[in-house]
């Protein structure tokens, strides 16, 4: 090509290349930090991870301590939370996407949900403490925890379910209406099945958030030393993240190792749930394309 008067190009290209490498470098650095994080939080606990750890109650003696009560407590807590929050959240999403008239009340509800999603979890804990534990006198029970957790993850479920419902093409609804279906029939037989992969993905992600939440449970006073498993919704309980918090906050190295072992269990559960969510979304996106 013909020579040009402008000769700043070499310098500009160097700047562009430098910037590109900078961004790549920073991203790789961030990924490296995260690898270090995962390694660091899991490596200490590996030797402690055995059946005895899963089957023992917490103890003052590290070598005897385990997470049985925490694991069962988390299972109770999450089952109840799912039972409460999934129907309420999904149906709220159905209402807002399929039924709600475009008026001020709807707009107000929308605004509320958006803002609630950003409220710190500890504030939900305070709410749970004041309303469920004290006002309704449910005490420090599994049900108090589950209700608090449900309020916490409801906005997440509603928002993600709405996204999934919104993605269902309008032509599908019109086709169903055109053969004389009522709105509920349209929703039940066509919209919800079509939105299901998206809804399930969102629900799983919301539930996994609840599994890892610690602060609200501390607020409602989920005990940190529980040497029994809850047998009903009114029983006291502890949960996996609380047990991890408890062990981490002790100065002795052995307890940190126990905390790490607990973290391995917690992350394994979360990773499995995430994998399921990603798989469902992947299958959903493959089917629709």
């Amino acid at each position: 090509m013909k020579d040009q008067v402008v000769s700043n190009l070499a310098w500009r290209h160097r700047k562009a290349a430098a910037f590109r490498y900078f961004c790549i470098g920073v991203t790789m650095f961030a990924v490296a930090i995260l690898v270090v994080l995962i390694y660091q939080v899991t490596s200490l606990g590996m030797p402690w991870l055995d059946m005895q750890f899963l089957e023992s109650f917490p103890s003052r003696f590290p070598e005897k301590a385990g997470i049985k009560s925490a694991l069962v407590g988390t299972l109770w807590l999450i089952s109840l939370t799912a039972l409460i929050s999934i129907p309420v959240g999904v149906l709220a999403a159905v209402y807002l996407e399929e039924y709600a008239p475009p008026n001020r009340l709807t707009e107000f509800i929308n605004l509320n949900i958006a803002n609630l999603a950003g409220v710190p979890s500890i504030v939900y804990g305070i709410l749970g403490l004041a309303i469920f534990v004290r006002f309704f006198a449910l005490e420090r029970s599994v049900i108090s925890g589950a209700l608090t957790m449900s309020l916490l993850i409801l906005p997440v479920i509603i928002i993600s379910s709405r996204e999934a419902i919104k993605a269902v093409p309008g032509s599908l609804r019109q086709a169903a209406f055109a053969v004389g279906a009522t709105r509920w029939q349209v929703v039940r037989s066509h919209v919800l099945p079509a939105a299901l992969p998206g809804v399930i993905t969102g629900v799983i992600l919301a539930i996994s958030r609840a599994i890892g939440e610690t602060a609200p449970l501390i607020m409602i006073g989920a005990l940190t030393y529980v040497a029994f498993v809850p047998e009903g919704p009114m029983d006291e309980f502890t949960a996996l993240p609380i047990q991890i918090f408890n062990w981490t906050s002790r100065p002795q190295e052995e307890f940190h190792e126990l905390a790490s072992a607990g973290i391995i269990v917690l992350l394994a559960v979360l990773l499995a749930m995430n994998a399921i969510a990603v798989y469902i979304r992947y299958r959903g996106s493959k089917k629709s394309s």
């Binding site: 090509m1 013909k2 040009q4 402008v6 700043n8 190009l9 500009r12 290209h13």
Partner: protein, 251 residues
Amino acid sequence: MSESVILDIDDVCIRYGDELAVRNVTLPIYEKKITAIIGPSGCGKSTLLRSLNRMNDFIHACSQDGKISFHESDLYSNTTDPVEVRRRIGMVFQRPNPFPKSIYRNIAWGPSINGLGGNMDERVERALKQAALWDEVKDRLQDSALNLSGGQQQRLCIARALAMEPEIILMDEPCSALDPVSTARIEDLLFELKENYTIVIVTHNMQQAARVSDYTAFLENGVMIEYGITEDVFTRPENKRTEEYVTGRFG
């Protein structure tokens, strides 16, 4: 005719993944003339146009064979700098795409990053006058370009390309998003610009091609069916398909 070829497209094939979008197109672009590329939508005319200033570089699935020469040097050789190519071969897009900046900054941005000398105010004024937009915006150069109407935005984009004083301006259906009045203004503009610039315009509007261009190439399914002086292509087409297309029997 004694025109010189500024851009020589020689046996060019362009692929999108497995799909062959442009097949063995050979086409000269003459200096200070308007060349129109017409054809039904999806025939590969935009793809061909975008290959002329290496805008297809950004589409990863896109690959290209054949040779395009600009002033007799290879546009796609390893030593050719795509930034330099685009500096000298400007482009106006299908939909107006002004930057979310002031009118003035929209025009001045290209020359300033490329270090073009001279008085910037004069350069902006000259470009806006060439694009027949000056009178409408001279009192509000600091307003956001997004406040202009669609037709004004497209003329702003033409002015933005002109401010770089390119040798060739590529126009990808520049009027497809505009109303008839704005379209007429831009067509008038093309006649004036021809004095100083080489223009390649892609259009699906046959009247427009017939009105404004000196040469016309007709593409169908990525194959160039016919190329010639515009008048000939429209009044005495050699190929049956061309005749059917220009008389509006399909497309």
